[in-house]
């Protein structure tokens, strides 16, 4: 890759390998995202999606390879790059004996957010929890915790968002709200990486799609260039689903599709 290209990528993952003991969760994953890219990551259970997300956002140290985010290597400058990333994971990272507002105050101070009170009020309104701001989190339902978790993740206005199954536990309204929010972020030029089991939710938001299977990135392509049949076949084969979700908004197949197997194929 030419030197001049390097600066373009806000996220560079090269040769990522992650082993847990003797089990290999990721094998030589290469992933490159430009600023403003929005990647949907699909794959069957146990494919390594969560491991990939956690490795990329510096929660896990890769066994081999490296991740560079906004010029910071996750292994060495994790404290510095945390200012740029927001993460929503399976766990909500919320303290259940604190109230919703207190949780946000805590995380807000950790990130040195200025004009915090104002910010928190806005966020709580944004995620629709204003009636519950001063209730302890342990009284919340899973969906409410997930909403608060979204507020927690964006409290410092991160330029990059990692979302691991963000829609789980949300009701229809919550899903719609989060979708609108993410679309707003996308239009603001934030970079988003999202894993989901729900194909249509991933595809309607993102401009790139990738499929991970058994720790290998077997498919990675721009949404606009996806050859419908390829993608469909791979996805169906991996997930074992019989039918293609009817509502999945795939664009018409395009001729210049580039398929990749394990290797990166970023259109230059």
């Amino acid at each position: 890759m030419a030197e001049s290209h390097k600066q373009e990528y806000i996220i560079e993952a090269r040769g990522l390998v992650k082993k847990f003991g003797f089990k290999t969760a990721l094998r030589q994953v290469d992933l490159f995202l430009k600023k403003g890219d929005c990647l949907a990551l699909f794959g069957p259970n146990g494919a390594g999606k969560t491991t990939l997300i956690q490795t990329m956002c510096s929660l896990m140290r890769p066994t081999a390879g490296k991740v560079v985010i906004a010029g910071f290597d996750t292994r060495y400058d994790s404290a510095a790059l945390h200012q740029f990333i927001g993460v929503i994971a399976h766990d909500t990272f919320l303290y259940s004996d604190l109230t919703a507002a207190e949780n946000l105050v805590f995380y807000g101070r950790m990130y040195n957010v200025s004009r915090l009170n104002e910010k928190i009020e806005n966020l709580i309104n944004l995620v629709g929890l204003s009636a519950y701001a001063h209730d302890q989190v342990q009284t919340f339902s899973r969906g409410m915790k997930q909403r608060l978790s979204v507020a927690r993740a964006i409290i410092h206005d991160p330029a990059i968002l990692f979302l691991d199954e963000p829609y789980t536990g949300l009701d229809q309204q919550g899903i719609e709200d989060l979708k609108q929010l993410l679309m707003k972020f996308r239009d603001q030029g934030k970079t988003i990486i999202l894993t989901s089991h729900n194909l249509s939710r991933g595809l309607e938001l993102c401009n790139r799609a990738a499929i991970l299977n058994a720790g290998v990135l077997i498919y990675q392509e721009d949404i606009a260039k996806i050859k419908k049949d390829d993608f469909k076949q791979i996805y169906l084969k991996l997930t074992g689903e019989k039918t293609w979700p009817a509502q999945a908004p795939l664009p018409a197949s395009s001729k210049n599709s580039r398929r990749s197997c394990g290797k990166i194929s970023y259109p230059s």
């Binding site: 929660l59 140290r61 404290a79 993460v87 909500t92 990272f93 805590f106 101070r109 950790m110």
Partner: protein, 215 residues
């Protein structure tokens, strides 16, 4: 920065249960030794430090245990702070809790055993603080390790006690000397060991804590 960690760490039940436990330890000692002990003065430091350590362990178990149980540790690690800062915050939190418990224990001891610690308050406070600092440092390191295991509480004790031996010896000896009313000079050698221990382990924590936080 520390304040936030501490405000987050506030849980009254923990301090309360630590104090109660220390209280019980003192009472058990009075039953175990009876009341007509001649050389009671000699065992005061021992009783005090046993109460401190056992009650302190109670608090240590919660230090990282709480974060692991609630799954909030990754949230902390994702904040723009280094593992060292997380260590310091946790350590200082443990230190403050343990010191509160120790003050309470001394008060109860004064009442139950009719001892007056007031004349020795300053040197005694120094020794207790240094000893507790050492305890909090190694305790926090090992609490981060043992919290990942299923036999958390037992493992923590097994890890902490052998390493804590020099502090136990130095602190008990220094406490005894102070209560005997000897001058601070004779205690000096023991203070040196306490300070050396604290500094060495603070340095070790600085160098190694990042490795413990890694997944």
């Amino acid at each position: 920065m520390w304040k936030d960690f501490l405000s987050e760490l506030r849980s009254k039940e923990l301090v309360l249960s630590m104090c109660l436990f220390a209280f019980l330890v003192l009472i058990i000692f009075s039953f175990a030794f009876g009341t007509g002990l001649k050389s009671f003065k000699g065992i005061i430091p021992g009783i005090l430090w046993v109460a401190f350590i056992f009650s302190g362990l109670l608090g240590l178990n919660r230090s990282f245990g709480v974060e692991r149980d609630k799954g909030t540790l990754p949230g902390l690690l994702l904040c723009p702070v280094s593992p060292w800062e997380i260590f310091l915050a946790k350590m200082i939190g443990t230190l403050i809790f343990t010191v509160i418990m120790e003050i309470f224990t001394l008060l109860v001891f004064t009442i139950l055993y009719n001892q007056n610690f007031l004349p020795f308050l300053l040197p005694l406070g120094l020794v207790i603080l240094l000893g507790t600092l050492g305890f909090s440092i190694i305790g926090t390191i090992f609490s981060a390790m043992s919290s990942t295991t299923s036999t958390r509480d037992v493992m923590l004790s097994i890890l902490v006690f052998p390493i804590y031996v020099p502090v136990i010896i130095a602190a008990v000896k220094a406490t005894g000397l102070i209560l005997d009313g000897t001058s601070i000079q004779t205690v000096y050698a023991w203070l040196k060991i306490l300070v050396a221990f604290d500094l060495v382990f603070l340095l070790l924590a600085y160098l190694t804590f990042g490795f413990i936080m890694e997944e």
